[in-house]
Structures are given as structure tokens and as C-alpha cells.
């Protein structure tokens, strides 16, 4: 799911740049500019800045959506909070840096996830 969202963001940017998609995700382009500038300044071009921009965009827009999708796959067996760890998968560092995830929340999410995993066959 995480990789699928990366692909969708790449697709959107490519279509927007070629004039096919009229929707302007201003925040996404702001993050692109912000992290590209940072990478150029600090890393001499050898840094995956698009990944960073995507991850912060995903932190702001997709964590709940991923959690909801996994919950649906699990036939809504538990409260949404039990699936939040799936939403944060691969985004935790970005979540901490953006101050949208705390260690306490993260640990709580893991505990709730273990309840899901003990009662289901779904995988991330």
C-alpha cells in the first residue's frame, strides 16, 4: 500500500507537469521544493529527496486512510486505533520529525496492532 501511494504521487506529478492533471496539490509541490533544496545544499545530489517529500505528504494525508483500508481488509474487527500502526509503517521517522507522532502513541499503536495480529491473517 505504501509503495502504491509513492507510485500514485509520482504519477500525479508527472501528469501535472505534462498538463494532463489540472488539480494542483500545492502542499506536495511545496514539499518537493523544500526537500530538493535541502538535498542540494547538504547532499551533493545523492539523497532521495522525493522520498522525503512523499513521506511527509503521506504523513499529512494517508496515515488514517491506510489504517482504514487495513481495517476494512480485516472486516472491521477492531476499532480504527488498532490499525494505526499499519498506517504509520515506513512513516514513523517522518512522523516523529513532523511532530505528528510521539513515542507514547507509537508504542500504544504497536500494542494495539499486536491484538490485531493475534487474531487475523492479514499482512501489510
Amino acid at each position: 500500500m505504501h509503495e502504491g501511494i509513492h507510485a500514485e504521487i509520482h504519477r500525479y506529478v508527472s501528469r501535472f507537469e505534462s498538463g494532463v492533471d489540472p488539480n494542483n496539490r500545492e502542499r506536495l509541490f511545496q514539499l518537493y521544493a523544500f526537500y530538493k533544496g535541502w538535498a542540494d545544499y547538504k547532499y551533493d545530489g545523492n539523497f532521495n529527496w522525493k522520498n522525503e517529500a512523499h513521506h511527509y505528504y503521506m504523513v499529512e494525508n494517508y496515515v488514517n486512510k491506510i489504517a482504514r483500508a487495513v481495517r476494512e481488509l480485516d472486516k472491521n474487527k477492531h476499532h480504527l486505533s488498532h490499525y494505526m500502526a499499519y498506517g504509520w509503517e515506513g512513516l514513523r521517522e517522518a512522523g516523529y520529525t513532523a511532530k505528528r507522532l510521539t513515542e507514547t502513541q507509537d508504542n500504544q499503536n504497536y500494542d494495539l496492532q499486536s491484538i490485531v495480529e493475534s487474531s487475523t491473517q492479514i499482512c501489510n
Binding site: E3, R27, F34, G37, Y56, G90, E93, A94, A98, N124
Partner: protein, 190 residues
Amino acid sequence: MKNLIILFTILITTGCYNDTNSKEFKEVISFMIDKQAIPIPPPPAIDDLTTTTVSKKIIDSLDKIKLKVAIYPTIDTFSEEEFKKIPEEYLDKFQIHGNSQKRLTLNGISSRKGHKIVLADTIKLKKHMDFKDYDFLFWFSDFYFSDDNKKVLFNLGLSRSRLAGNSTLYILKKENNQWEIEYSRYISEW
């Protein structure tokens, strides 16, 4: 005579160039950690759509952060695909040999910037997509040194999680007793 043959065989098979305990090996790893372990700035506030650069104040504060950096404990020789990425002009400059996996130790590896360096726990790594115990994972390939040990070729994978990272081919040269990057090429991302 028999002992001499054994000693000679050991020297040939282990080599002194890409021995993971060599001074150069540890120097290069320490250099790359200080060069690449850089905290990522937080994004601009969500209601601020005008900021597109990182402020000097944030850069200064990031420079003071000490990170926890993990090194993957084993290193492998280049794969066939990786060999193909080496620029032609460098192909005959390095002693590209060896085909065994090696283990790293932290002995002699340090950060001048004060980052804490640990060896990654490979069992824990398999359990989660995210790294709970450290900020960055450095994944080095084997090192291929030039005849005079003044240049080295290697791949470095740099990850913030199993779902965020990239790898780069590096050629470093040593001048005035300091390593510096002579060539780098972005190889892949994940």
C-alpha cells in the same frame, strides 16, 4: 618452509587491501557516517504554503543534533549489476577481487560529530519496516582499494526505514591524509 607457504596463502586470500580491520577501512566508514548522517529538517507548517527553503536557524539547530547510526554488520562483494555501474575509466584502477561475505566490528569506527554508532541487529531489522532503535542504517558493500590505498570504491546504502533509502556508488580519494569524495553516482532507491 611449510609455515612460509601457509603464511603466504593467508596473505593472498585475506589480502591487506580490503581487510575490514584495516585502518583505511575504518577511516572511510567513519568519514561517510559524518558526511551522510544528517538529520532531516521538519516540513514547513501545514498552513504555511510559502516556505520552500530551510532557514539558517533550523540548519544550525540540526547541525547540533547527535544521531544514532547503525551499520549493517556484514558486507558483501559487488553484485554483477553493481559492477556494471562502475565508470569505465575506473575499472582498472581498483583491485576488484574477493567473493566472501565479511563481518564488521565497530572497533576503530567513530564519529567526529558525536553520533552514536552501533551495529544493526539483523533479527530486529526483519521484524519491522521502521527502525525503532536508530535514525539511520548504513549498509556498506565491500571496499575495493587502489594499489596505493589512496583511492577506494564502494557502494553505500543509506536508509531511514526499510521503506525509505537509496544507494550510491562512491569513489573516495585520500589527500593530505583526509578522505574526500572524488566521484559519486546515485544507484537506486527504495
